[in-house]
């Protein structure tokens, strides 16, 4: 194996330049190094001004999402040796405004996530004296896959609709809404349906499927969205054909 590998890292320093540029760095090509290790090496030894986000370095926090050779990846889970002999292009997550170097602005996503009420909604709170909400493994299995989302935004960087329509809620937000819709403890299906069954909600999605391919935690947001579309259609027909029917606000 060669000694070093070249990284082409996107730099954007708003106080100096109006557009991003690329800078080349040679880093040691260690067998067990990931792209994040290379970035840390650059920041420690070569250029301390390089800015990027990271935290757990083990694929559970979702902070280190970036574009590696044009694909959204967690840099803590992407090995340098996979790209040897290089060079490796490292850019900030696509479709988000760039604040500096590899750091993107994600407030827009946070607002979209909050808008789907991603928490257990109850019409009636059970008092603590009545004990816990019980849930069988089968009930957990209904939504567990969608709960694995770490908000890394790789799916947003992969989805063309996110890039083309600023108002599209996006894969992770819908997958997380579905995580709560399918949770047996939740009673918030109705209120989420109002937000999601809009053109900027699930109906902007054209089932491209790249979001699920990019997801490092196998959440399958595309599946969540399609399943929700079918649900929304049945609800729509019910509301049109049986307008006098009692609205279903969830069980228990």
């Amino acid at each position: 194996m060669a000694e070093t590998i070249t990284l082409e890292v996107a730099r954007y320093r708003p106080e100096q330049e109006g557009e991003p540029t690329f800078e080349r760095f040679d880093v040691p090509l260690n067998k067990d190094w990931v792209v994040l290790d290379a970035l840390n090496y650059i920041k420690d030894k070569v250029d301390g001004t390089l800015s990027y986000r990271w935290s757990c370095r083990m694929g559970v926090c979702g902070s280190c999402g970036m574009m590696v050779n044009g694909e959204p990846k967690l840099t803590c889970a992407t090995f340098l040796s996979h790209y040897a002999p290089g060079p490796i292009k490292v850019e900030p997550l696509r479709y988000f405004p760039v604040v500096r170097d590899l750091v993107v602005e994600i407030t827009d996503f946070m607002a979209k996530l909050k808008s789907v009420n991603p928490w257990v909604v109850r019409e009636d709170e059970k008092p603590v004296s009545e004990g816990e909400y019980l849930q069988t493994p089968a009930q957990l299995d209904q939504f567990k896959q969608f709960s694995m989302c770490i908000n890394c935004l790789c799916c947003y960087a992969a989805c063309p609709v996110v890039g083309l329509d600023q108002h599209f809620i996006g894969p992770a937000a819908i997958a997380l809404a579905q995580r709560y819709n399918l949770d047996s403890r939740d009673q918030g299906k109705e209120e989420r349906m109002d937000i999601l069954s809009q053109h900027e909600g699930i109906w902007g999605c054209t089932f491209n499927g790249e979001c699920s391919k990019a997801c490092p935690k196998n959440v399958d947001p595309a599946g969540a969205i399609q399943q929700y579309k079918i649900k929304a259609v049945t609800e729509w027909f019910k509301s049109v054909l049986l307008p006098w029917g009692k609205k279903d606000g969830g069980s228990k």
Binding site: P14, G18, E19, P160, G223
Partner: protein, 139 residues
């Protein structure tokens, strides 16, 4: 984006890249996706052919024969060939995506995707066979 650079200290100046109209040519997978979406045109072509065929049936045997002769021209053969390719692509991508949209659970466990896609393919073959039998069987 033009670099009309005005930076105020301690004020953010984010860089927003505009998505090009040709975004779908930049990666093979995006191109494949747009091809899949353009199969909608081929579906429209096939629907139009069916409509004209049915219309010709109401107009008498000469109209039917005329329509058949149109379909034999090189232009139509080429268009039908291209449309056929797209319609096939639509079918295959459609059946392969079906398991994602409809997860099937048996005894609490989720069935593997090919097990949900396979009946779709089976139905496709069976229905195609029925159509061929209908149209070709008998005089």
């Amino acid at each position: 984006m033009k670099a009309t650079h005005v930076y105020t200290p301690y004020r953010p100046k984010w860089y927003r890249k505009r998505v090009s109209t040709w975004w779908w040519t930049q990666q093979w997978r995006s191109f494949k996706f747009i091809l899949r979406e353009l199969s909608s045109v081929a579906v429209g072509y096939c629907g139009a052919i069916l409509l004209v065929l049915l219309w010709s049936l109401t107009q008498g045997p000469e109209a039917y024969a005329t329509f058949q002769s149109w379909l034999k021209t090189p232009l139509f053969i080429v268009m039908s060939l291209i449309a056929f390719g797209f319609v096939l692509y639509h079918s295959i991508t459609w059946f392969n995506l079906a398991p994602k949209a409809m997860p099937v659970r048996v005894g609490g466990k989720r069935l593997p995707e090919w097990m949900v896609a396979a009946p779709n393919y089976g139905a496709w073959i069976a229905i195609s066979a029925v159509v061929v039998w209908f149209l070709l069987g008998g005089k």
